[in-house]
């Protein structure tokens, strides 16, 4: 009997075979703490009575949700983080570099086969490089900071096979939205999602990140891709035999296998106010929008900005639409500046903001009010997520977002 990818990653770390349902204590390669949770994690760490951090090299503090600060209390979070880093000798603090989930792989921390935990639910993103990573609360993070380990239950795996060539106006965002719709918002609870097939093989790491990032919206513990040569290029590591073994075996035991033909996917939106309320964009035509948001750890990467720029080039957004573009990191911002992407978006009437979480969590510029409609490329359309509880949030791909901004109503690219 073979093993699923998550079983292989965990077994390697604990030094023995594991099966779904086993409760095991794993060593932690990376801890990510975001600015919202820093003061709470620090307080719990001190209450627990630890006097040192288990490994200052393995802890990464990232300021992103509150940057630049929009409320007078926000800077307390930066101050507490800086003091904690100084006191315990933490080596990695990102104060203005971008969104935590972009940076954890982009800045060279998480590699294939690693185990990482973060104080944000979208920590599942690092599954894009074949790492086991998931979100936890600040109390558990405080426990890891002191002990370097955490208990987990080995998850069952749902395998998702996608083969074929995607239609031109479909992106990986449409794929994961459709899958969440099929699984429902709780359909993968406690499970690992493992994505395979020729469509997945052909995808960029950036596109895979979008899918891993949203795995948690189906309740999944992690969303994994087997690392390949593209992953190794991105992570700047050799594509060796150890990496090549990090894949789900054909004879592994899966809880469920879902098979899709790439040609069957169409552009979709998650409609208010549940992530699994999925409808084809073609059925939503005519829905007038007040704002379009392109950004977030889901879809704020260079390929996302370029996709939008290709559609917006030489055109202008509808006069009554505000379009807000937030690159996921400084590196992406600079690359999009250098290759003319930002210029095209700006010429089309978009507002370009500083890298960070921004509008996605309702903290940055562009929050909305009663009755307003927004098409957004981020990952959650919950009540009140981007403003008041009477804002209508439609989640969509960068291509749909760009086409919608031009038309002023929900439109297929």
């Amino acid at each position: 009997m073979g093993y699923t990818l998550v079983e292989k990653i965990i077994a390697k770390k604990v030094g023995h075979e594991v099966k779904p349902g086993d409760i095991v204590t794993v060593p932690v390669d990376w801890c990510m703490i975001d600015d919202i949770m820093v003061p709470f994690a620090v307080q719990k760490f001190e209450e627990m009575g630890f006097d040192k951090v288990y490994d200052p090299e393995k802890v990464v503090l990232i300021y992103d949700h509150f940057l630049p600060a929009t409320q007078t209390d926000d800077s307390r979070h930066f101050r507490v983080g800086d003091e904690f880093a100084e006191k315990y000798g933490l080596k990695h603090v990102h104060r203005t570099d971008g969104i935590c989930h972009q940076l954890m792989t982009e800045a060279g921390y998480v590699k294939p086969g690693d185990i990482a935990f973060g104080t944000d639910s979208h920590t599942v993103t690092y599954g894009c490089v074949g790492a086991f990573s998931t979100g936890i609360g600040y109390t558990e993070m405080a426990g890891i900071l002191g002990t370097g380990q955490l208990w987990i239950k080995v998850p069952e795996t749902i395998k998702i096979e996608i083969d074929g060539t995607l239609p031109g106006n479909v992106t990986s965002k449409d794929i994961i939205l459709r899958i969440i719709g099929d699984l429902t918002a709780s359909g993968a609870t406690y499970n690992s999602l493992e994505f395979t097939g020729s469509t997945v093989d052909a995808m960029s790491v950036a596109s895979r990140m979008t899918i891993s990032n949203m795995s948690v919206e189906a309740g999944a513990k992690c969303g994994l891709f087997a690392p390949d040569d593209k992953t190794c290029d991105y992570c700047k590591i050799p594509y060796d035999d150890e990496i090549k073994d990090l894949h789900g075996d054909d004879n592994a035991s899966y809880a469920k296998i879902l098979r899709y033909r790439a040609e069957d996917f169409v552009p979709v939106c998650a409609c208010p106010s549940l992530v699994d309320n999925i409808k084809p964009v073609s059925e939503l035509k005519g829905t007038k929008v007040d704002q379009v948001f392109l950004g977030s750890c889901t879809n704020g990467r260079l390929e996302d900005l370029r996709t939008a720029a290709t559609i917006l080039k030489g055109k202008h957004i509808a006069p009554y639409v505000k379009m807000i573009v937030t690159p996921a990191s400084r590196k992406i911002y600079r690359a999009a500046l250098a290759d003319g992407t930002l210029e095209i978006l700006s010429d089309a009437g978009a507002i370009i903001t500083t890298p960070g979480c921004g509008l996605c969590c309702g903290r940055g510029g562009g929050i909305l009010s009663d009755g307003e409609v927004v098409v957004a490329t981020n990952n959650r359309n919950f009540l009140g997520r981007m403003g008041t509880s009477k804002v209508q949030i439609y989640l969509a791909s960068p291509a749909t977002a760009a086409a919608t901004a031009i038309a002023g109503e929900i439109t297929e690219a």
């Binding site: 409760i23 919202i36 949770m37 003061p39 709470f40 719990k44 209450e47 627990m48 009575g49 630890f50 949700h65 509150f66 409320q71 209390d73 926000d74 307390r76 979070h77 973060g118 104080t119 944000d120 639910s121 920590t123 998931t134 979100g135 936890i136 609360g137 600040y138 109390t139 558990e140 405080a142 426990g143 002191g146 208990w151 918002a185 709780s186 609870t189 406690y190 309740g219 513990k221 549940l274 969590c361 309702g362 903290r363 959650r380 919950f382 009540l383 009140g384 997520r385 509880s389």
Partner: protein, 161 residues
């Protein structure tokens, strides 16, 4: 055994509903309390009395990993939550804060808000004369819950309590 008044919520109660992002940065949970459940039911936090319980459907606590969500529910004095199922991060966070969570598939569909339940943890819940079986938690979680949460369990580990 304890008895508790039921407040009833639906399916997929996410942690943005339990506590919206704009209130996460308050320094204390006490300051967050009035805003619990505000996007869905702005008056609920002021109505919940210590000892009351929440009954909900599937996937309670889905979404963000914010631990302020179970902390604020605990701070309101909620004695336990009974739901058909929980999102996994919320489940861990609740146990780590000493908040009792009970999974029960049938109770939600058969009780009304305002009903009084008698809860015997690890055994049964009685409402309107009917008994509903409930399971025990795994040992490692019972230990954390009985210690009063993960902070207290870690203090014990570190020889402080």
């Amino acid at each position: 055994m304890f008895s508790a008044k039921i407040w009833k919520l639906g399916d997929d109660i996410d942690t943005d509903i339990i506590l919206p992002t704009e209130y996460l940065a308050f320094e204390t949970v006490q300051e967050m309390k009035p805003y619990a459940f505000s996007p869905l039911r702005p008056d609920l936090a002021s109505k919940i009395q210590p000892g009351d319980m929440i009954v909900a459907g599937n996937n309670f606590g889905c979404g963000s990993s914010r631990e302020q969500a179970p902390e604020v529910v605990k701070a309101l004095g909620v004695s336990c939550i009974v739901a058909k199922s929980y999102a996994r991060i919320f489940f861990r966070n609740a146990i780590n804060n000493g908040l009792l969570l009970i999974e029960q598939p049938d109770l939600f569909d058969e009780v009304s808000e305002g009903d009084i339940a008698e809860v015997t943890p690890g055994k049964e819940i009685k409402v309107n004369g009917k008994s509903y079986d409930i399971a025990s938690l795994p040992d490692n979680l019972t230990e954390i819950l009985e210690a009063g949460g993960l902070v207290k369990a870690m203090r014990k580990r570190n020889g402080l309590d």
